[in-house]
């Protein structure tokens, strides 16, 4: 067991990695950047960050030989955290541009309905539907930072994966978890102390895996 678990942050050209990299270091992880499938070798946990649309992200994952290694990683139930687009890519597909995505969580990424403003930008409450170690030590009414217009809608037949919801005109799923797989629609790396705590909790889960 490593005391500083090695976490691969997947770089597929979808946004800056500085903040997630710095936040993970701040909570005691050793960070490597995975530019291709080889980058997942020998690491203890994987984070897929990113903002933007699904189709270009999926083609970049394919071009960087990351699609199958990521699917295999998740299928093996190894520690995984998807952030924002990294969560949306777990679903079957996205309404944003019709992309077929990884299909490891049943449901589709859909536009937020009844939103008073779009994009949904800012701090909002993340209401947990059940306890989970990812939110250990974080107050039930804690706020996290969001920036998105679409969110994954979990298939109602498989909604036991839902971990938290958030309201912006209507309620949407803001966190999921199943086994060692987790995903959050908000940005823990931009959510102050509560965000750092969530990342520290993920690092603990990686360490314990």
């Amino acid at each position: 067991m490593t005391t500083r678990p090695r976490i691969a942050v997947v770089d597929y050209g979808a946004g800056n990695l500085v903040s997630i990299d710095q936040a993970l270091r701040a909570v005691g992880a050793e960070v490597t950047v995975a530019h291709d499938g080889e980058g997942l070798r020998g690491v203890d946990g994987v984070i897929v960050p990113g903002v933007g649309a699904a189709a270009p992200a999926m083609s970049r994952l394919a071009r960087h030989d990351l699609t199958d290694p990521l699917r295999a990683w998740i299928a093996a139930d190894r520690p995984f955290l998807g952030i924002c687009l990294g969560l949306q890519l777990l679903f079957d597909g996205s309404d944003e541009d019709g992309a077929t995505t990884l299909g490891v969580v049943a449901g589709r990424t859909v536009r937020l309905v009844d939103a008073p403003t779009l994009p949904h930008i800012g701090w909002n409450q993340v209401e947990r539907t059940r306890p989970h170690p990812l939110f250990e030590g974080i107050a039930p009414d804690a706020d996290f930072y969001f920036v998105h217009s679409y969110a994954g809608a979990v298939d109602p037949a498989a909604d036991e994966i839902v971990l938290a919801t958030t309201d912006h005109g209507a309620t949407f799923t803001s966190a999921v978890a199943r086994g060692a797989l987790a995903g959050v629609q908000f940005h823990p790396e931009r959510s102050g102390d509560d965000g750092l705590r969530l990342l520290a909790n993920f690092v603990d889960l990686v360490r314990a895996a």
Partner: protein
């Protein structure tokens, strides 16, 4: 429920905060990352750096301070001033910023908004609009810090910027900026009633009541101010407490130990 944001703005030139601050307990209150960390700890919901460095060859200092800020302040950072191309934007984001704010360059070349949004997503593109009242109920866009008129109608430009790809608007009343006369609520209302993206109010804040009014009466999603924070006239927790007392949803953080 989405929280209304309070955003301190730091004017930066040659890597230094231009208007000094009164925080006697900071080692170097002129160092943007140190001040940014201080504001983040106090509950700033985001931070804005407005780079007013005159010489383009000294822009490297900005990237350096963005990177140093990203290492210690884990809240969103927007950088404005001097972003004139997709390449400029890429450099700023790579250094650790989350968004850029486009102003004069977007007025000169509106499709810059589309190119930036196309490459990095509209959520990363803030269009800053400096507006000056012309006749009652009408405002024109001014650029270069208010020194140059454009003849563009501010509300029409706001709508167009959103159509092209702006994910947020930062609306500054040049008439009110630095006066402490309160935000131009009519200007804010004119724009927030016409666009669906979040609007950040700027220019004229004097006290907590102005922040409340910008949100409640102006329809703003967020409120930006500079000197009242830098001069220590009002603290971020005090502003947020007043907003909460007025029934507005805000993110309250534990006050750091003195």
């Amino acid at each position: 429920m989405l929280r209304r944001r309070v955003i301190p703005c730091l004017d930066v030139a040659d890597g230094r905060v231009v208007k000094g601050t009164n925080f006697v307990d900071l080692v170097d209150a002129g160092d943007p990352p140190e001040l940014a960390e201080r504001y983040a700890a106090e509950g700033a919901d985001e931070l804005v750096f407005l780079d007013i460095t005159a010489a383009p060859e000294r822009r490297g200092t900005l990237l350096d301070i963005v990177e140093r800020t990203a290492r210690r302040a884990f809240v969103p950072l927007t950088v404005g001033g001097g972003v004139r191309s997709v390449t400029d934007m890429r450099d700023v984001l790579r250094a650790g910023a989350d968004k850029v704010s486009l102003n004069t360059a977007a007025v000169a070349d509106p499709l810059l908004i589309a190119r930036c949004a196309g490459r990095f997503g509209r959520q990363a593109v803030v269009v800053a609009i400096d507006a000056r009242a012309t006749v009652p109920g009408a405002w024109e866009v001014v650029v270069k810090g208010g020194r140059e008129s454009t003849g563009l109608d501010a509300v029409a430009w706001a709508e167009r910027a959103v159509d092209i790809g702006a994910g947020e608007l930062l609306v500054t009343s040049i008439d009110r900026d630095g006066t402490g006369a309160g935000f131009d609520l009519e200007l804010l209302r004119a724009i927030t009633s016409r666009v669906g993206v979040p609007v950040i109010a700027s220019g004229g804040a004097a006290g907590p009541a102005d922040f409340v009014a910008a949100v409640r009466d102006g329809g703003a999603d967020a409120v930006l101010a500079a000197s009242i924070f830098h001069r220590g006239i009002h603290s971020i927790p005090a502003i947020k407490a007043a907003m909460a007392a007025a029934g507005l949803p805000v993110r309250l953080v534990p006050v750091p130990a003195a």
